[in-house]
């Protein structure tokens, strides 16, 4: 079981309040992603849950048991760090065995669990190596192995893929997702990468300056961002936020149009503009269009076969039923 409840949890470093009182419930078996720009307090929040930082106020409960003042080891949580944090002087096998050794689990059971974890993570051939002799992806797998054998109430991941190269990151993303499906254990995952958040999460928690901006499933956040910050943060490329769009505004201070919800044509459309930069990904092309009569540059996604280059004239038409409207405070208008 791994239900984690945060009740008015806050954190200050000296005079600086990095996390104002905050409530959050993470259900058993959920894959929750904390996402936000750097410095938003997402890692601090994770460390508060882990017990590596003391809370300044409020209460943390794990499976209804108060855990606010428990030391990290007593919380039954396992953590995977960005830097892997493997013990460099121990072999892979000893690294994985370490938490079991600390818990006083009998040798025979340790052996069995190590073998299971190594088989699941493709580490069987590397058990006698030192971390220094492994690649980044393998090291991260060892770190995950060390977490799995503890059979924790929840896994905590602190930007675990940031040190890997792009190709490996996609592979490890899938592995972690599969692991979650298999173990069905609560996972809390911190990242600044909204693609990781969208692809892995059951529930995303968007944070800014220690404040939760919105909690919801990836598609909820995508379809109904609660405010301008979430609207701009979720989705790639970013949603176009436009202020002076005439009759499309319908009383809103700002409207949001996603690049994928805007049609482009060479002959006709609502906004006439000139292509600035065009990014050709092969499958898709992103056009950054200027001189549309709007104050903002508009980004639009077109098919890979759409032929438009720097300086070409294009016409853009947003899909009206997919326009997001926000009031002067930046909040969504229902």
């Amino acid at each position: 079981m791994g239900r984690i409840t945060l009740d008015k949890v806050s954190k200050s470093f000296g005079e600086v309040e990095v996390i104002p009182p905050l409530d959050l419930t993470i259900d058993d078996g959920e894959f929750v992603v904390f996402v936000g720009p750097s410095g938003c307090g997402k890692s601090t929040l994770l460390r508060l849950i882990a017990g590596l930082e003391d809370v300044s106020g409020g209460e943390i409960r794990i499976d209804k048991q108060p855990a606010t003042h428990l030391p990290p080891a007593k919380r039954g949580l396992a953590m995977v760090f960005q830097s892997y944090a493997l013990y460099p002087h121990m072999s892979v096998k000893k690294n994985i065995a370490f938490p079991m050794k600390m818990a006083g689990i009998p040798e025979a059971e340790q052996e069995r669990k190590i073998a299971d974890a190594a088989a699941a993570l493709n580490l069987t051939d590397y058990l006698d190596r030192r971390p220094g002799q492994l690649s980044g992806g393998q090291r991260q797998r060892v770190a995950i192995g060390r977490a799995i054998v503890r059979e924790p109430a929840a896994f905590l991941f602190d930007e675990p893929l940031s040190n890997l190269d792009a190709a490996l990151r996609v592979g490890m993303r899938m592995e972690i997702s599969e692991l979650h499906k298999k173990l069905a254990t609560t996972m809390i995952y911190v990242t600044h990468d909204q693609v990781e958040a969208m692809t892995m999460a059951d529930k995303i928690v968007v944070l800014r300056a220690g404040v939760i901006e919105q909690v919801g499933s990836p598609l909820e956040l995508y379809r109904e961002p609660r405010n301008l910050f979430v609207a701009g943060f979720i989705g790639s490329p970013k949603m176009n936020l436009v202020t002076g769009a005439g009759d499309l505004m319908q009383g809103a201070a700002t409207i949001g149009v996603r690049p994928e919800h805007t049609a482009a044509s060479k002959t006709e459309g609502r906004w006439k503009g000139v292509v600035g930069v065009s990014e050709h990904l092969g499958s898709d092309t992103f056009l950054h269009v200027h001189e549309t009569g709007l104050a903002e540059t508009v980004t639009v996604r077109v098919g890979g076969e759409f032929d438009a280059n720097h300086g070409d004239t294009v016409y853009l038409t947003p899909e009206e039923d997919k326009i997001h409207r926000f009031d002067g405070e930046g909040l969504r208008i229902a």
């Binding site: 990290p72 080891a73 760090f81 830097s83 493997l86 002087h89 370490f98 938490p99 060390r146």
Partner: protein, 276 residues
């Protein structure tokens, strides 16, 4: 472009390095040579360098006149004991300063180091009185404690520098993995810091071995180490250079050999953290 190093330049550099090395080593070499001379050759003017009648007589006399092994054993106990005791005390201290620093940590470190700038003679009198009161004058225990206290700032400082290099996340991982503070220090921090701890031990062993002020002032006969052994050969009725040299060679030989074999470790230790 890589800097071109010509053969000629290399040769000059090599000669220069050897010259500096010899200059530094010369006093020790001279002591060793003198120890094999007769007293008359030792003070000959002009000095003789290599071509004299080599003799082992001085060593025989020194052996005969004093119990070398007892001094050696005292030195080993005092240097070894104070170093080990110091490290045991310094590891937790350095741990807390490196991993749970407070606002005052830097100040405390500097303050600790500043005690090394105090002239030792300034505290000789109180410590001497304390030793008398406690009845530990001329005992190995007393010297082990004093030597440990003298070198503790350096041990703490060195260990602190090594510990700083160890990523805090690894210790946090140990904490998450269920290690208590003691287990964290024993199973994770110490093994990772072994090279640093080794060179700290080495350096402090050498410092304690060579320390003369306290050993001379706080010992008489029973606990006297090799420094006192050398000093006993600078007698009031005149210096016997050859015998003094023989005694010196016997006193520095063990530490010289040890230093020779561990020089790599020592250099690494002293420059650790200097280059990222």
């Amino acid at each position: 472009m890589a800097r071109a190093v010509t053969t000629q330049r290399k040769t000059i550099n090599t000669i220069f390095a050897w010259a500096v090395g010899l200059l530094i080593f010369f006093p020790i070499l001279w002591t060793i040579l003198t120890s094999f001379k007769t007293e008359a050759t030792a003070i000959a003017d002009p000095p003789v360098f290599l071509f004299f009648d080599w003799t082992l007589e001085n060593y025989a006399v020194v052996q005969e006149r004093s119990n070398y092994m007892r001094f050696l054993w005292n030195s080993v106990i005092i240097a070894g004991g104070s170093t080990i005791l110091g490290v045991i005390i310094a590891v937790p201290a350095a741990w807390s300063m490196a991993f749970v620093p407070s606002k005052r940590t830097k100040d405390i470190l500097l303050w600790m180091l500043s005690t090394k700038m105090l002239p030792a003679v300034g505290v000789l009198y109180p410590i001497y009185l304390l030793f008398i009161k406690l009845g530990i004058l001329d005992t190995r225990v007393g010297l082990v404690v004093v030597m440990m206290l003298i070198n503790l700032p350096i041990i703490v400082w060195m260990l602190y520098t090594y510990f700083k290099e160890i990523p805090g996340e690894i210790l946090e991982a140990a904490r998450m993995d269920g290690a208590s503070l003691r287990e964290e220090i024993i199973h994770v921090l110490t093994p990772m810091a072994v090279p640093g701890i080794a060179s700290t031990i080495l350096l402090n062993f050498i410092l304690a071995w060579n320390e003369a002020f306290w050993t001379l002032n706080l010992t008489a006969a029973k606990a006297a180490p090799l420094t006192a052994f050398i000093a006993s050969y600078s007698s009031p009725e005149g210096l016997f250079y050859a015998k003094l040299s023989a005694a010196s060679v016997m006193a520095i030989a063990p530490i010289l050999v040890m230093g020779w074999f561990s020089q790599k470790q020592l250099v690494r230790g002293l420059t650790f953290g200097a280059v990222k």
